[in-house]
Structure formats: structure tokens, C-alpha cells
């Protein structure tokens, strides 16, 4: 089964082929990248099929590793671990990756740097697959960072404009705040358990609760950065400055879910801690609510989807915090498909409407049938409507919360589901119904529509696999309980209805601010993103800038001042010495002013003159010393 490694290596090879090319050649070599990801998809399906029957009780089917570093008695390796979780992730990543790459052939075909775009997509795919296949936390971390680079490059893809440039920097730095925690978590893990290997850290080593809590919380902090959890969520909405298909792949389906994947992998440590699980749940439910509320006031269609992603990732953290590995992973999978679908649909809409502002859209349903149908499926899945996939995974999360007795979190999660339904309706009715505002709306190219169709089909039907997914991961699988299913359906239904009531009934006049009129203060707070960005910008970003300036002044005036002061004291010392020499000693003999003048000139030459003297003296002293030793020795 050595081919499993090839799944990750093929896109890496594609990257290595594309990078050294000149821009013009690279633009023509795009098929290299597409071919790599398609083959990876085929191999991933093969790997999945080999794990599929029963999932082998959650155990690894294939494992191989090579050492890349040796430290004393510790070997650090890079490995390939095929177990049910990684098998599922392989398929998700390569499937969405293929969809996005095919879609981009249409979406990006006029871009002057399309080759570079595909090169970075390839590197990203390789890193994500490497992360998924990791058999240890260090490898996971390294792949994680490389994904961060790709995210940075794609967000800033149109770097000639200011906004993408700023957004890419913000994304890299914000996620790196989390990465500091991740790195320290690795250090604690290494000191405590003496290894990064899953086998040792997750199975063999007996964790003490205190150490487990420290490691879990640090890893969680890393995951919060990557998965845009409050309060480290601020980078993701800005990241929408990148090309939309890249957002679909990286900032919706895969990379942002890596934090969830990390917590899922490390869940045995979290469970020893207990505290860490609670924290994970609180972070998750807060994010689910905050993300949902912020999504409800955005006018930019991509930003609605971005905040929606934040909110749904929060849902996954809630599930993991409740100990629900299956529910969390399942929501990751369904979300990956329906959210990438929504992003690809948004890309078509933006191309057609020539705007990202939903207030300038409307009536798309009449002109763009395929986009409308697929986008609707994605919307219903996101809102959690039966039988679309989001319903099933959300239901599993609610079920586990109820069963574990987390009633408050259950209620809050329901509230988040309600908000979700509202903003989904708000988006859908604004974009697809009402009067058409643009004359030249037309459906997208077929290479863009086919990937959307595939993702829509998956989003529509994958839900029925729900119990089998649990069995695949080695857990008991059940069909949803009627009571919870009905509750969540009702909540979603009411939310959608409310959304229609407020935003869907328009005929001519577009009322953009029904919410604003009724709850001004709340609305203002939400449009200002709950002050997160402002606070960070004022206190952290500008604060650091000011601090750096201050330290720079301190360095120049104080630290270097002391050095120069010492130099000056030394120089005036020699000056005095020199004056005494000439004035007192020579002066006593000659008593002429001309000598003083000469001395002054000599002093002025100190800067350049004395250095050679010191040097000469030093070398001479050394040579004499040597000679003396040699003579004495002879």
C-alpha cells in the first residue's frame, strides 16, 4: 500500500515542477496540477475502499514511517498513517480539491498568473494531505505551517491591491498567534511523553490530568487560530480578499477544518484532562453564536459565508468538547462539501453580478437555473433542513449534547442553528428573488457548473450515510431520534420563515435595514464586528508599532549611548593624557604653543589614527610573545 504516500507526494511534485517555470510557461502548464490532484483523488478513493468494510474498528490499516531527525535516542519521523479518520479526510480533501481545480479552470482562466495560482493550490493540497496522513504531531504541525504559507499566498494573490495584501498579513500573523501555543504544546508534550508519535502520545503514555490539561489547552489554542475560533477568528472574513475558489478550498472546506482535525486526533489527551473538553465546548459554542450573528449583518456575500464558516467550525468544536468525535468529524465532512459548494456558487454569482454586495443583487433565480438549484441545496444543508447533509451532522451534535447533559450548551447551539437559518434565508432571498438589478446575468461555463453539481449531489444525499459513518470510525451508529430531529427542524423552519418575512417579501423596494431600525445598538455592535478588530488594531497592532519605535529610540539613545559615552570618555582620557604628555612634559621643555596645536591635530586623528596603533600594538605584542616563547623554548 505504498501508494498512500503518493497521494500527498503527487501534488507536491506538481508544485516542484511548476515553481521554477517562467510565468508564461507556467500559465500553460496548469494541467500538471489538475492531473496530480485527479490521480490523488483516484488513489484516495482506492485507499478509502480498502478501509471501508467496517473501518477495521477504527484501527490503522497501513502505517509507514521514515526518520528525518535523530536527537540522542529519539527519532523524529515523517509517516503515513491510513486509518478511518485519515481515509475520510483524504477523500474530502482530494474531492473538494479536484472540484476547486476544475472550477478554477473557468473562474481564473483570464488571470495573468493562473499558473502561480495552481502551483500554490498544489502545494496546499500536498500539505493538507500530509497533515491528514500524519502519524505524529510534529509532522502535523509542519504541514499545518506550510498550509499557512499557501493561505497567505492565495489571500494576497492580487497583491497589487491594498486589501488582499493587508488581509494576507493579518491571516498569517493571527494564525501564528495560535501556532505559538501549538509549538509550546509540542514542547510540553515532548518533555512529558518524550515523543510526538500518535502511538506513544495517544495510546501508550499514561497522562497525568495536569499535564494533559496543559498540552490540550495549548493545542486547542493552535487549533483556535487555524480554525478561526473566537477570539482568533478575525482573520477569516478578511481572507475573502483572495480568489473565491481558493476560499472554497482553503477557507471553507479544508485548512480551517485542520484545527478540528487536530483536536479530534488529540481527543484522548483532552479526555484525560476533562477541563480541556469543557473549554473546547465553551470556545465552540461562543464561536458558533458570534459567527452566526456577525454573518447576519454582512452585506458582502463572501463575508456572510466566511462568518458562517466560523460559526459552523464552532459547531464542530462543540461536538468535540462534548466528547463527540464522530459528530464533530461528520460535521466537518458535510460542511466541507456544502460550504465549498456555496463558495463556488458565490463565485459564479459574483462573476455574473459584478459585485459582492448582496444589496446590488437580486432575481438571479430566473437567469441562472443551475447555480440556483445547487446553491439552494447548499443553503438548505447549511440551514439544517431534512434531508440535506447539514441536518444529519447538526442533529448528531445536538443529540450528543443532550445525552451528555449539556443542556445550556444545547440551548445555545439551537440558538445558533436558528441564527443560521435566518442568515441563510436573508442571503438566499436577497440574491435569488426580487427584481433583477443587472441586465447581463448569464450562467457560468460548464467546467464551473459540473463541480458544483457534483458537490450538490453529495450535499443532498450524503446525510443518509450518517450511521455508517459512525460505524466506520469504530463507534455505534444510530439514526436520529425523533424528538431532537423535530426540534432542530422546527428551529430551522422558524428561522427560515423569519428570514423570508424580513427579507423575502419585497417586490420593488429593497429594505436593507429592517434590523438596523429595530435594534440600532445591537446592529451597530455587530456591524463593527463586536469591536474585536478595532480592539486588536488599536492595542495590539498599533501598540506594537509604538513599542517598537520606542525600543528603537531606547536602543539608539540609551544602549548605544552608553557605548558611545564610554568611547568618548576613553577618548577624552587619551586626550588628557596626550595633553599632559605634550603640554606638561614637552611644554616644560619647549613651552611653545605650536606643539599644542600639533597635539590637537593629533587628537583629532584619533578616530582613524589610533585604531591602527591599537592593532599594530596588539599584533606586535602577540608576535613578541610568540618570539619570546620560541626563544625560551629553543
Amino acid at each position: 500500500m505504498g501508494y498512500v504516500a503518493a497521494i500527498a507526494l503527487l501534488p507536491a511534485i506538481a508544485f516542484a515542477i511548476l515553481v521554477p517555470m517562467s510565468n508564461r510557461v507556467r500559465n500553460k502548464a496548469v494541467p500538471v496540477s489538475v492531473a496530480a490532484v485527479v490521480i490523488s483523488l483516484a488513489l484516495s478513493l482506492l485507499a478509502f475502499a480498502q478501509v471501508w468494510p467496517g473501518g477495521h474498528g477504527g484501527e490503522a490499516v497501513y502505517h509507514a514511517s521514515v526518520t528525518f531527525a535523530t536527537l540522542g535516542s529519539v527519532d523524529l519521523g515523517v509517516g503515513v498513517l491510513l486509518d478511518p479518520i485519515s481515509a475520510v479526510m483524504l477523500v474530502v480533501v482530494t474531492l473538494v480539491g479536484t472540484a476547486v481545480q476544475v472550477y478554477s479552470l473557468g473562474y481564473m482562466h483570464r488571470d495573468a498568473r493562473i499558473g502561480w495560482y495552481y502551483a500554490v493550490l498544489s502545494l496546499f493540497t500536498a500539505a493538507m494531505l500530509m497533515l491528514v496522513l500524519s502519524d505524529n504531531f510534529l509532522q502535523l504541525y509542519m504541514a499545518w505551517e506550510v498550509m499557512g504559507l499557501c493561505s497567505y499566498l492565495l489571500i494576497g494573490f492580487w497583491h497589487e491591491q491594498v486589501a488582499p495584501r493587508k488581509a494576507s498579513l493579518k491571516a498569517f500573523l493571527t494564525t501564528r498567534v495560535g501556532d505559538v501555543g501549538f509549538a509550546l504544546g509540542l514542547a510540553v508534550m515532548y518533555k512529558t511523553a518524550g515523543s510526538f508519535d500518535f502511538q506513544v502520545v495517544l495510546h501508550d503514555f499514561a497522562w497525568a490530568p495536569a499535564a494533559a490539561t496543559t498540552v490540550s489547552l495549548l493545542l486547542l489554542f493552535g487549533a483556535m487560530g487555524k480554525s478561526a475560533q473566537v477570539p482568533l477568528h478575525v482573520w477569516l472574513p478578511d481572507a475573502m480578499a483572495g480568489p473565491t475558489p481558493a476560499s472554497a478550498l482553503i477557507h471553507a472546506a479544508t485548512m480551517v477544518a485542520a484545527g478540528v482535525f487536530l483536536v479530534a486526533r488529540a481527543l484522548p489527551i483532552f479526555e484525560v484532562s476533562g477541563v480541556a473538553l469543557t473549554v473546547t465546548m465553551i470556545v465552540g459554542v461562543t464561536t458558533a453564536l458570534v459567527g452566526g450573528l456577525l454573518a447576519a449583518v454582512q452585506h458582502d456575500i463572501k463575508k456572510v459565508l466566511a462568518y458562517s464558516t466560523i460559526s459552523q467550525l464552532g459547531y464542530m468544536f462543540v461536538a468535540l468538547g462534548a466528547g463527540g468525535l464522530v459528530a464533530g468529524m461528520y460535521h466537518l465532512v458535510t460542511h466541507a462539501f456544502f460550504k465549498s459548494l456555496l463558495f463556488l456558487g458565490a463565485g459564479v454569482i459574483i462573476h455574473a453580478a459584478h459585485t459582492q454586495d448582496m444589496r446590488e443583487m437580486g432575481g438571479l433565480a430566473k437567469k441562472m437555473p443551475v447555480t440556483t438549484v445547487t446553491f439552494t441545496i447548499g443553503s438548505l444543508a447549511l440551514a439544517g433542513v431534512f434531508p440535506f447533509s447539514g441536518f444529519w451532522s447538526k442533529d448528531e451534535i445536538l443529540t450528543i449534547l443532550w445525552h451528555e447533559g449539556h443542556y445550556v450548551v444545547f440551548a445555545l447551539a439551537l440558538a445558533a442553528a436558528f441564527v443560521t437559518a435566518v442568515y441563510v434565508a436573508r442571503l438566499w432571498f436577497r440574491v435569488f428573488t426580487g427584481p433583477t438589478q443587472s441586465a447581463e446575468l448569464k450562467e457560468a461555463h460548464v467546467e464551473m457548473l459540473i463541480p458544483m453539481g457534483v458537490l450538490a449531489a453529495i450535499s443532498a444525499f450524503i446525510g443518509f450515510g450518517s450511521p455508517y459513518f459512525a460505524q466506520f470510525l469504530g463507534h455505534e451508529g444510530e439514526w436520529p431520534a425523533a424528538a431532537i430531529a423535530l426540534t432542530s427542524m422546527s428551529v430551522a423552519g422558524i428561522g427560515l420563515a423569519l428570514g423570508w418575512w424580513v427579507y423575502g417579501r419585497r417586490t420593488k423596494v429593497i429594505n436593507t435595514r429592517p434590523f438596523k431600525q429595530r435594534a440600532g445598538f445591537v446592529y451597530d455592535a455587530l456591524t463593527l464586528k463586536l469591536y474585536f478588530d478595532l480592539t486588536y488594531d488599536y492595542f495590539i497592532v498599533r501598540g506594537y508599532g509604538r513599542l517598537a519605535e520606542m525600543l528603537s529610540g531606547f536602543d539608539r539613545v540609551v544602549v548605544d549611548g552608553i557605548v558611545n559615552g564610554a568611547g568618548a570618555v576613553w577618548r577624552s582620557g587619551t586626550e588628557v593624557g596626550s595633553l599632559i604628555d605634550t603640554y606638561v612634559i614637552d611644554g616644560a621643555v619647549n613651552g611653545t604653543a605650536s606643539l599644542i596645536k600639533a597635539a590637537g591635530a593629533k587628537v583629532r586623528r584619533i578616530e582613524t589614527g589610533h585604531i591602527q596603533a591599537y592593532q599594530g600594538l596588539m599584533v606586535a605584542a602577540l608576535v613578541l610573545l610568540m618570539l619570546w616563547f620560541v626563544v625560551k623554548g629553543a
Binding site: V146, G156, E160, L173, G545, A548, V559
Partner: protein
């Protein structure tokens, strides 16, 4: 004889270059190129024949002044071979980078070769007198390189560099003499495990600390570095950052730790604190700079802080990591200075606000500068990450206060901040008026950078390419520290 050849060949080259007529700079540069290339080949030969399991190898030990225990003693172990390789490689790079030197070329290339003598010698010497001679020898050519071929404030910068580091080495000399008086020998290897008393160790360590700390440089003894870097010609900057700074940390690893292990343990918390401060202080100052060279110079203070962090940890991970940072910083900072120099030759400015949009105007230069930047900020898969991560790992594993390790880890974030804000302003965006007139790198320039790029990738992807040399040597030092 091989090691002697590695040290003395550049000396012969320097003498011959110096004798070349003043108007025949082309002869001098060819001499320098051939000599440094042959020297590098000899080093590679040594590395290929090197037995990673054994200790000191290729040893040459001849009694020189037996009455005073002075010997001509050279040798390489896994630590010195990595530094020697770096020194030989960067010397060749420095020569090729200076190919178009017009001002007094004969003297210039002689100085570069003389510098290599000192650098190679420092990493090979196992006798204190010899070590001191090489150590001081390095100052002379570097002083002239900055003072003669430097920028507008070259006098100030070169004198500051010279006096500051001379000030440090006086303390080192005191330490050496004290050790001699106590042990009756100048042989470094003989002093290891000499049973020096604890208080004696403490005082001698203090002397060595001052000597080495200036060279590294550790906060607050770093202010000579930005001035020297800004004024130095490109090749001198490469060697200054790439090799000269490492002499200080090499001194800690080769001398202070094995000979004074008890004191090293006692000093570890203090050094850790200064290392952590150097990391964040250097990073914050780099963030505030408007001159590209100064930015790189302050980033060196930050990176060398990681080296000290690893050294102070006294662990296998930390010391391996320290050497990995030393190696990587040499290669990556070399890349950064070379590319900044190449851009400067075209734009005649190093001011960040004057340079923007490199990636659109000159994609090769912009791309390579971006590559070096990501290597510098510690992206996994490139060499910078290896040491940064291992030093943090080692520091956390050791008994030093955890708060300093956390501060050091924040340095990783700050590194991304100053590096990427530079990338954002200089590489990205639309070309500035000055940049829109320049042409991309020539084949010679690219071929100069490619070996460094390849090394960055090889070390970053396969850590054992470096660790296989250092790990066994480090293990011996860790054993000494643990036994003290």
C-alpha cells in the same frame, strides 16, 4: 596535514593576491576564487571522510612551546565540521559576490582570503594560543573591509566594531590566562574534565561570557552590529553575519560548556533570560527599521538569541538546535544580504519606502527574497525552522524558568511580523518608480544564490543531513554538563 592546508591555503592566496599589481584586479579575483573553491573542496573531502561516531578527527598535534604547554593543535568534530563547511562555502560566495569590485581589488581579495584564514582557524584550533591568534586575526581584515570598502559612515562603524570586539576579547584573554595558570596547559582538550573548582569556574566563565557575548552579540552588547552591517560591503556583511557572529556561540559550545560545565549550569538561567530578551528585543527593533540592511542586522540579534537559548538549555535538543540555527542563519542571512545587495546595486537605495513591487518587476529577485524571508521566519521545510524549534524544545525540557521559553516562543510570532511586513512593502504591491527601471538578476547572480537555496531546502527537509554530524558531538557535551 589536511586541516593545516585548509587554514594555510587562503593565507598563501592572500599573500599572492596582495602582490598582484594594483591595476590587475582580475588576477586577484581569480586567485581568490580558485583558492576559496579549492579550500571548499578540501572541506567537503574532510566531511565525506568524516566518521560521525568518533570524536576529534584529522588531528594535528605538534608541540610548539612545550615549556608553556602550547601546541599547534588542530582537529574537527561534528560541531566544528559544520561551522568549517559554512565558513568555506560563504568565503567562496563572498568572493564571487564581489566579482565586480573596482576599488583596490587586489587588496580587497587579499583581505577576504585573510579573513578566511582566521575563520577556518577559529573553528579548527584546539589550543588556546592558536585559537586566540585566529580569533584576533579575524578582526583585522574585517576592520579594513568595513573601513575601506564600506558606506558613508565606515570610519565610525569600523572603529566601533574593532574596539567593541577587542574589548570583549581582552576578557577572553584573561580567561585563557587564568585557565593556563590553573592547569599549566593551553590545550583545550586537556582542560576538559580537569576538575576545576566551582568558584574558579564561575569567574572564568564570566570572563569568557563577556568575550563571547559581544561577538554573538547578546543584548545589550549588540549595538556595534547594525552599524557594522549597514556600512559593510555586501560580501563583508555575509561573512560578518554568517561566520563572525557564530564564533561567539561556537566559543560557548567548544570552550565554555565542556571546560567549565559547572559554571555553565549556574549561568544557564541568566543566559536564558538574556537570550529571550535578545530574541524579542531584536525582533521588535527589526520591525521598526526603515533600512533593509538594518532590518536584517537586528533580525540577526533575534536569531542569535535562539542560539543562546539552545546553548543555555544544555540539552541534546537545545545544543543540536543551536548549531542548526547557526548553520541556517549563516546560509539564510547570507541569501538575504546578497539579494539586498543585488537590489541595492540596481536601485542605489536600501530604504524600504523606496522599494516596492519587486515580485512584479523582477520576479526572480523578488521570489528568492521571499524564499529567504520565509526561511528566516522559520517556515517548516526550510532550514530556519529546524533550530528554532529544537532550541525551544530543549529550553522547555531543561530546568530554566519556563517564562523565558514562552517569551522566546513569542519571538517566533514577532519574526513573522517584521519579516512579512517587509515582504508586504518591498516584494508585493506595484513597482515603485525606482524599481520599475531595474532588470532582473543575471545568471551569475542566480548561480551564486542557488547553492544556498538548495542547502536551505536540504537541511529543512532532512534534518539529519546536519544532525548526523552534530548529534554525537553534542551528546558528549551534554554528558559533561550532566556530570557537573
Amino acid at each position: 596535514m589536511l586541516l593545516s592546508a585548509i587554514v594555510l591555503l587562503p593565507l598563501a592566496g592572500a599573500v599572492v593576491s596582495a602582490l598582484v599589481p594594483k591595476d590587475r584586479g582580475d588576477i586577484a579575483r581569480w586567485i581568490a576564487a580558485v583558492v576559496t573553491a579549492v579550500d571548499l573542496a578540501l572541506v567537503v573531502f574532510v566531511a565525506l571522510r568524516f566518521d560521525v561516531g568518533a570524536g576529534m578527527q584529522f588531528v594535528e598535534n605538534v608541540a610548539w612551546v612545550p615549556q608553556f604547554g602550547i601546541s599547534y593543535h588542530l582537529g574537527v568534530d561534528g560541531i566544528s565540521i559544520t561551522m568549517l563547511a559554512l565558513s568555506a562555502l560563504l568565503s567562496l560566495v563572498a568572493v564571487v559576490a564581489s566579482w565586480n569590485m573596482k576599488t583596490k581589488p587586489a587588496a580587497y581579495f587579499a583581505m577576504l582570503l585573510l579573513l578566511e584564514v582566521g575563520m577556518n582557524g577559529v573553528f579548527l584550533a584546539l589550543d588556546f594560543v592558536l585559537f586566540y591568534v585566529f580569533w584576533e586575526l579575524v578582526l583585522v581584515p574585517m576592520y579594513f573591509l568595513i573601513g575601506t570598502w564600506g558606506g558613508p559612515r565606515k570610519e565610525y562603524a569600523s572603529i566601533k566594531f574593532f574596539l567593541y570586539t577587542l574589548f570583549g576579547s581582552v576578557f577572553m584573554l584573561i580567561g585563557i590566562i587564568a585557565l593556563y595558570l590553573q592547569t599549566g596547559t593551553f590545550d583545550m582538550t586537556a582542560m576538559v574534565g580537569a576538575g576545576l573548582s566551582e568558584s574558579f569556574q564561575w569567574w572564568v566563565f564570566a570572563a569568557f561570557f563577556l568575550g563571547f557575548a559581544v561577538k554573538v552579540p547578546i543584548f545589550p552588547l549588540h549595538t556595534w552590529l547594525p552599524d557594522a552591517h549597514v556600512e559593510a560591503p555586501t560580501a563583508a556583511s555575509v561573512l560578518l553575519a554568517g561566520i563572525l557572529l557564530k564564533m561567539g556561540t561556537y566559543g560557548f559550545i567548544r570552550i565554555a560548556l565542556p571546560i567549565l560545565p559547572h559554571a555553565a549550569n549556574q549561568w544557564a538561567p541568566f543566559i536564558t533570560a538574556l537570550a529571550a530578551i535578545s530574541i524579542v528585543y531584536g525582533a521588535a527593533l527589526a520591525f521598526a527599521q526603515t533600512d533593509l540592511k538594518k532590518l536584517v542586522a537586528y533580525s540577526s540579534v533575534s536569531h542569535m538569541g535562539f542560539v543562546m537559548l539552545g546553548i543555555a538549555s544544555g540539552t541534546v535538543e537545545g545544543l543540536n538546535g543551536a548549531i542548526a540555527v547557526m548553520f541556517s542563519h549563516g546560509v539564510v542571512t547570507g541569501l538575504l544580504f546578497l539579494i539586498v545587495g543585488m537590489v541595492y546595486e540596481r536601485t542605489h537605495t536600501r530604504m524600504i519606502q523606496d522599494v516596492s513591487g519587486l515580485s512584479n518587476q523582477v520576479p526572480v529577485a523578488g521570489g528568492l527574497l521571499a524564499f529567504a524571508s520565509f526561511a528566516s521566519l522559520g517556515l517548516p521545510g526550510l532550514s530556519g525552522f529546524v533550530g528554532e524549534f529544537l532550541t525551544l524544545l530543549g529550553a522547555w525540557k531543561s530546568d530554566v524558568p519556563a517564562v523565558w521559553v514562552v517569551i522566546a516562543a513569542i519571538g517566533v510570532l514577532l519574526a513573522a511580523a517584521y519579516t512579512l511586513s517587509m515582504v508586504q512593502r518591498v516584494i508585493l504591491g506595484t513597482p515603485s518608480p525606482i524599481v520599475s527601471k531595474i532588470t532582473d538578476l543575471t545568471v551569475r547572480e542566480v548561480s551564486l544564490l542557488v547553492p544556498l537555496v538548495v542547502l536551505t531546502l536540504v537541511v529543512g527537509l532532512y534534518w539529519n543531513s546536519l544532525l548526523r554530524f552534530t548529534d554525537p558531538a553534542v551528546a558528549r557535551i551534554v554528558e559533561l554538563l550532566a556530570g557537573a
